[in-house]
């Protein structure tokens, strides 16, 4: 069987159902035993500005997008103008017939910057301002233009459903293009229907309308274009249990499974979805007879309150966490420092997005590694975990709580927007291997007859913990430097000892957490060329690695998952053997590279960076690494795919 690798894109204004279309598309494919990976792009806007979904379908597991679009389902003219360049020769564009006369320069939502670029492009190719003209030109690149009379089809649907106002079914343009798409690629329509039913669940009316629209379009495509399009997709028998989910969902499920019962948040993109998803499942099902389980999810007045409420809650013994992104995390910094000083096991899920400041609220970036590590005045231990894919989001969410409690410190779980809002299929989680590790906790019995000191000096820096309210364990917390009881102390010697107690945990962590939990290594141990990265570029790098290896290049990949405290010794051992080290990161300065150099003295030989707000694709990572391996790359390459 040949390997299928099909790239579909749907685009339209926010609020027109791009997301729904992509979800249904993804589900339909996944139900058919195919693997999907999908990335969502949208403006910081509620309705009207351009959004799109870039979806990849394959018979093997897919980990990232590529630069290509094989089929573009355009809800509107802007989608074509923006994405035409990505459609491959032999690929296709689904376009509304009635929009061919659209004047490009009159599209109101196109920003000035883009308009002037477009004007130059049209001039250079001697084209008019008409959309139809642009598409004619595209045909020269062997792109198929599938002109569909959206309005006619909608009218037919309306008639069939007995609806008189067209506006009521305008929202089905998305499934209409979906139907055309599936018709073109000749996929089993039953699976698409199943996906529509699953997506709209308890809304039979909407299901009916959408299935009707989809199938009408499906048939239209079969009748009118089926010969023209070379891409065809067939379902496969599924052998294993698979799930399709986003990073937001993976974190949410990991948290509750990991014992989180108290979550605070202040709304922010792209973190809020996680909290809302937990809230909508707030009542949990306990395995233990007679026990109840539920998560209290609190929307606070700001992020300052979110972190401090969570810390307060953590002192009572509950596993507590908060989720945010850059602007919110900035406000949490003072609270983080308090939690660090007081050895509070609190988890902060930090969704990175384009920054600085409000930045690109709905776009991708990995700019906050150094900030996560150094945030907060003073020096105190913390753990920073960075998940590389959606699967890791789940496992790391659980690990975060285990580490927080075992080592009694704040844990920051770094996620990039590209993971939060993308979805991917993969085999079901291995839930039975998951363990909850709560660390050293004393209860009423344990305390009998002892004088309890919350911050007792110990080997390794970890003092047994007592929850607020426990009989016999009264103690104090303070943001001031304190003695073993938790009372304020300004004594010089005590200060030195307390600093050393706290900071020595970093060594304890180094010792006690296995290296397998801290790094992933892919490829040949003895490869001359090593790619180093963290977070979401993982998928694109692995795909590039596989391809380059199959082409005979000698390459491996070190993914750092525990970015702080970073496992210096292991990284050093791995890297010092390499001839060329290639740092791949989604930020301007190559932050992880800097950290590695700081800690090991080893420099990154090459940087492949990207900071245009869009995630890396396998294509561009592959190209960039190849240039390095061929000795043709500058020391610093900046990638720029994505619109």
């Amino acid at each position: 069987m040949t390997e299928l690798d099909f790239n579909w894109m749907a685009g339209g204004p926010q609020g027109s159902g791009v997301d729904a279309a992509a979800n249904i598309f993804g589900r339909a494919c996944a139900y058919g035993g195919l693997y999907v990976y999908g990335r969502r792009e949208y403006h910081s806007n509620i309705k009207g500005l351009h959004s799109y979904f870039h979806l990849r379908v394959s018979t093997h597991e897919v980990l990232a997008n590529v630069n290509d679009v094989d089929l573009l389902a355009a809800f509107d003219a802007e989608t074509i103008v923006r994405h035409l360049g990505e459609v491959v020769p032999g690929g296709g564009i689904i376009v509304d017939k009635d929009q061919l006369n659209t004047n490009i320069s009159a599209i109101p939502t196109l920003p000035l910057e883009l308009k002037s670029t477009l004007r130059r492009y049209l001039e250079s190719r001697g084209l008019s301002d008409r959309l139809g003209d642009l598409l004619e030109d595209a045909k020269k690149r062997e792109i198929n233009i599938f002109q569909v009379p959206y309005m006619d089809l909608l009218k037919q649907i309306a008639t069939k459903l007995g609806i008189d106002k067209l506006s009521k079914i305008m929202r089905t343009i998305n499934v209409l293009t979906l139907g055309i798409s599936f018709g073109l690629i000749d996929y089993e329509i039953e699976l698409v229907e199943k996906a529509i039913k699953a997506f709209f669940r308890e809304k039979p009316k909407i299901i009916e309308m959408n299935i009707l629209a989809m199938s009408l379009a499906y048939e239209y495509a079969k009748e009118n274009f089926s010969e023209d399009f070379k891409f065809k997709i067939k379902s496969l028998p599924v052998r294993e249990e698979r799930i399709l989910l986003s990073g937001n969902q993976a974190v949410a499920i990991g948290k509750v499974l990991g014992g989180c019962r108290f979550q605070t948040y202040y709304p922010i993109t792209p973190a809020a979805d996680e909290s809302e998803y937990i809230e909508s499942h707030e009542i949990l099902k306990s395995k233990i007879p007679g026990e109840n389980a539920g998560v209290v999810v609190l929307q606070t007045e700001d992020e300052i309150s979110a972190i401090n409420m969570a810390s307060g809650a953590a002192l009572t013994g509950v596993r507590a966490s908060t989720s945010t992104s850059g602007p919110g995390f900035s406000l949490m910094v003072e609270g983080l420092s308090w939690a660090g000083n007081n050895e509070v096991p609190v988890v902060i899920t930090y969704y990175q997005r384009g920054a600085p400041s409000t930045g690109l609220p709905t776009r991708h970036g990995q700019d906050d590694l150094r900030f996560a590590i150094h945030a907060g005045h003073g020096e105190f231990p913390r753990i920073v975990l960075a998940s590389g894919d959606i699967r890791e989001c789940f496992y790391d969410a659980i690990a975060a709580f285990n580490y927080a409690e075992r080592f009694q410190l704040p844990v920051i779980h770094l996620i990039d927007k590209a993971l939060a809002n993308s979805f991917q299929t993969f085999p079901m989680f291995e839930i039975k291997d998951i363990k909850i590790q709560r660390g050293n906790i004393l209860n009423e019995e344990d305390l009998r007859g002892i004088e309890y000191k919350r911050f007792a000096f110990t080997e390794g820096g970890i003092s047994p913990r007592v929850f607020l309210g426990t009989k016999g364990g009264i103690h104090w917390y303070t943001g001031d430097e304190h003695n073993e009881f938790g009372h304020i102390s300004e004594e010089a010697d005590n200060r030195t000892k307390m600093m050393e107690k706290r900071m020595s945990k970093l060594e304890t962590i180094d010792r006690e957490i296995s290296i397998n939990e801290k790094i992933n290594f892919f490829g040949n141990e003895d490869a001359d060329n090593i790619v180093v990265s963290w977070g979401s570029p993982k998928g694109a790098i692995i795909e590039a690695l596989n391809k380059l290896t199959s082409e005979g290049f000698n390459l491996s990949f070190l993914q750092v998952r525990m970015v702080h405290p970073i496992p210096i010794q292991h990284i050093k051992e791995i890297l010092q053997k390499a001839e060329r080290i290639i740092d791949v990161e989604m930020n301007y300065s190559g932050q992880l590279g800097g950290i590695i150099r700081e800690k090991t003295g080893i420099s990154m030989d090459f940087q492949i960076l990207k900071y245009n707000g869009r995630p890396m694709t396998s294509t561009e990572v592959y190209n960039a690494i190849k240039l390095v391996l061929q000795g043709r790359a500058p020391k610093r390459q900046v990638l720029n795919y994505g619109s």
Binding site: G312, K435, L468
Partner: protein, 321 residues
């Protein structure tokens, strides 16, 4: 065995200035805890930063000395996670009404069942006497170089505007009265504010003990000073909302009283309303087992240390079969 207030003492040196109003507050609080028979380990004192913020270290009960302005988020987090604890929040006027004003106002919307003591001394004590948000316009206490540029705010009115369901004022040196107010505040079901007039002899030379006592106002008849303070209990004033229709009137009455200042300063309970559901009642409506199995008391793993819950409901929607 009955508790005595000395059961709530620690051996930490109390480093407030001689004559500081905080001593009265500390004693009144210790007496309150004892008289309410609260076991020390069930009590959590949560404080902000300031002279006032040090108080928990002087009380033998769980103490959480937090950040400047953040006492309410911590206190609410603790209480919501474990509603069986008796949570008392403590802080300065700068702490609660300056940097903490956002939490002050928004806490009113939740009505969590905690008690909040504001040590109202008109200054930022621990940073050496800058004007606090309650210091009135154009006043110049001895520690500031120029008269205050800002209007002073009224904690009572702000609390009522924000939705607090118990709003009272007391005086640091009238320990007995303060203690009675504290008892009622702690017993109140919902968010209770006690604004405590607290002389700071070191920095505030206007609202001194002598000033409150009226030493500058000798009654020509008795030859005795006429105190500026009077008690709401001693006049015909009923702060309690007995039915929902009374709410607005009671609030307005409280605001009118709260506006009194200068020669006639009321202390006592200004407003009390138990008809508003407390936050735990709101959560329990959604999660019926909340009070018996609050977050802090749930068991999160089984005897094998495996997670204690099923996640089938989540996975249901995500399975691709």
């Amino acid at each position: 065995m009955a508790l005595s207030w000395t059961d709530f003492k620690t051996d930490v040196f109390i480093d407030w200035c001689p004559g500081c109003g905080n001593y009265g507050i500390l004693t009144a609080l210790q007496m309150t805890l004892a008289e309410l028979g609260l076991e020390p380990h069930r009590v959590v004192l949560v404080s902000g930063i300031g002279c006032s913020g040090k108080l928990p270290h002087f009380v033998k009960a769980y103490g959480v000395h937090t950040l400047h302005g953040r006492v309410l988020p911590f206190a609410q987090g603790i209480k919501i996670a474990n509603p069986s604890l008796e949570v008392i929040a403590i802080g300065g006027d700068g702490d609660g009404l300056g940097i903490g004003a956002g939490h002050f106002v928004n806490a009113g919307r939740r009505n969590v069942d905690i008690t909040y003591l504001i040590h109202n001394n008109g200054v930022y004590g621990l940073t050496k006497g800058q004007a606090s948000p309650t210091l009135k316009l154009n006043l110049k206490v001895k520690s500031i170089p120029k008269p205050n540029l800002n209007e002073g705010m009224n904690p009572i009115i702000l609390a009522i505007a924000a939705g607090y369901t118990f709003v009272a004022r007391a005086y640091a040196y009238d320990t007995k009265h303060l203690k009675e107010i504290l008892k009622q505040a702690i017993r109140h079901k919902g968010l209770a504010l006690v604004d405590i007039l607290q002389p700071c002899p070191t920095y505030n030379d206007i609202n001194t003990k002598e000033w409150y006592a009226g030493l500058d106002r000798i009654d020509p008849k008795t030859g005795k000073p006429m105190s500026r303070l009077y008690k709401l209990e001693e006049i015909d004033y009923d702060p309690t909302v007995h039915n929902p229709d009374e709410e607005l009137d009671k609030k307005i009455a409280a605001i009118e009283k709260a506006k009194e200042w200068g020669d006639k300063i009321p202390i006592g309970i200004f407003y009390k309303n138990e008809l508003v559901p407390a936050f735990h009642e709101r959560i329990a409506k959604r999660m019926p087992f909340y009070l018996s199995s609050p977050p802090a008391k749930q068991i999160i793993h089984d005897s094998n240390n495996s997670p204690a819950i099923y996640i089938d409901e989540f996975l249901e929607e995500l399975k691709m079969t």
